[in-house]
């Protein structure tokens, strides 16, 4: 895993992934007590950064392998990223999703041409067993959500853009806050910035109770969350940092930042009001950290990622009801 893989992924993604803009608002600067630059990956194809890694991994397969199709386990954003990438190459995508996943996410994944296989999470069906069967029978290639070098390389292209866009705005140093689940986006951006903006320091951001990355960085070992669900930040609730991602994070990242569910909702409301973009709860934790953890951040400028915007109207209205009324 190295910077050359990220640059190669950027070449493969050119003309496919969107170059998301860099947004800002004087009103957010005032809350944060410093300049805030926001990279809205909610505007990426499929509504999250996951398309970058999926397209990178699918495009990196040799043609005969790719032709047999790809496989993914996901209840959300990774599913849609893999489905679109496969559709673009005209190959089959089988996505194994829990039967109780949000209907909208199941429908969207199907609408992107994927074959969705539902399994009963509560009834003890093993998604791995189902997946192995598909791999064996049809020769599908599994696209992991984060612990896979070509996926990390794709997510890292976000970091190349951050370095270039921040430089245009006169920023070459400061903390870069990244919404962190398994660490694919965090480690990819960290590698890209090590090369292109060495004055910047990446920091993983997580919701309370799911701060496995923050704790792992403190202990120096991969730490696991006690629970697997029960937080509105569903997109980034991963059991633990990955075996590929953690060593990169350990070498390059600053301390993790942790925010509450209410702070994520508050950040969603401010992204609505001040940036005019839609963030999902898990996608808003880095902005929440920029705004509400200012004493733990260093420098005159802070950069943060909004990692996704796949939120239903009910949850969005909850954020506006609580924090959007003036």
């Amino acid at each position: 895993m190295n910077i050359e893989m990220i640059r190669a992924a950027a070449t493969r993604l050119d003309g496919h992934a969107r170059r998301t803009p860099m947004l800002s608002s004087p009103f957010l600067d005032e809350i944060a007590g410093r300049r805030v630059l926001v990279k809205p990956e909610c505007l990426q194809h499929t509504g999250s950064f996951k398309y970058r890694g999926a397209r990178s991994a699918v495009s990196a397969l040799d043609a005969p392998t790719r032709k047999k199709g790809v496989l993914a386990f996901s209840s959300g954003n990774h599913a849609q990223g893999v489905a679109l990438a496969a559709q673009e190459f005209g190959v089959a995508a089988v996505i194994i999703m829990p039967a109780d996943a949000p209907k909208m996410k199941i429908d969207n994944t199907r609408a992107l041409g994927a074959e969705v296989v539902l399994y009963d999470r509560a009834g003890g069906e093993s998604r791995e067993a189902i997946g192995e069967q598909y791999e064996a029978e049809r020769g599908l290639t599994l696209i992991k959500p984060y612990d896979e070098p070509q996926v990390i390389a794709g997510q890292g292209t976000t970091g190349l853009e951050i370095a270039a866009q921040a430089a245009e705005l006169g920023v070459d140093a400061g903390d870069v806050l990244v919404c962190c689940g398994g660490g694919g986006l965090t480690s990819g951006i960290a590698l890209a910035l090590e090369a292109d903006a060495p004055g910047m320091r990446v920091r993983p951001c997580e919701p309370e109770g799911f701060d496995d990355a923050a704790r792992s960085l403190i202990s120096g070992h991969i730490e696991t969350n006690n629970t697997r669900s029960g937080n509105i930040c569903d997109a980034i609730l991963t059991p633990a940092p990955g075996k590929e991602t953690f060593p990169i994070m350990q070498r390059l990242c600053g301390p993790g930042l942790v925010v509450s569910e209410d702070e994520a909702l508050h950040a969603m409301s401010l992204a609505f009001q001040r940036l005019k973009v839609v963030a999902e709860p898990g996608g808003a934790v880095a902005l929440a950290a920029a705004l509400f953890r200012k004493d733990q951040i260093k420098g005159d400028a802070v950069i943060c990622i909004i990692s996704g915007g796949n939120v239903d109207a009910e949850m969005f209205q909850r954020a506006l009801n609580k924090y959007g009324r003036s």
Copy 2:
């Protein structure tokens, strides 16, 4: 008023106005029955395209004139654009706003450093008389909202970006739908596309009951709306096309498109769900026309502008309540 003024404005705006991205969604393509490209000017500084024209006009003043400060009449987006442009040049901005304008817009304009002068719309105070007094006493220069060549030139820079971005995506022909109040954005984009994408045709989009541009294009004369308010699309409720803008629209634009308030709300909800951007009602009329007037549109691809996103939580929730639940 010519293309060279638009190119000169683009040079003056370089590094200041945001180059907004070009968004799309297969779900919107399906509704529209053709490929839909969306230019979200809600992501522009101050949340609407108005900053482009304001910055263009303020930057075009000679330095001694600019130093005395600028003046604008506006209850909304133009106010914020002029306030920010003046702040960036370190000159005074006096914005004359109706006392019953939304508090948020008054607060935002003040927060951008402008001196806000409130007048009593109902009580018959003349904003022009107030403005003339400021012009005489302090030598301020009036920045008109649309009927001013340097403002049109600034809005036209949106068209230069559309031509370049659409070409990158393989689109060089089709209807370009523009939210239309006084016609500054519409005529500016039409001039830019005449030069850089002559296969494209600009069409003004308006709310029902405020279709002065559509009627003027049919009659060949400037037609006026019967009422001045009473529609949720407040950002684009202008009495009539301008003397500068109408001849350009008449020469270059196709027939106008008209949508209902409910269709604007529906488009806002789809922009939330599929594009992850926040549109205000007036800013959503072009997207609404792309989605719900497909029989009146020609070509394999349609381009539309979301002109602004300055909407309060209550109105946004109204859109989600009506059209956002799955």
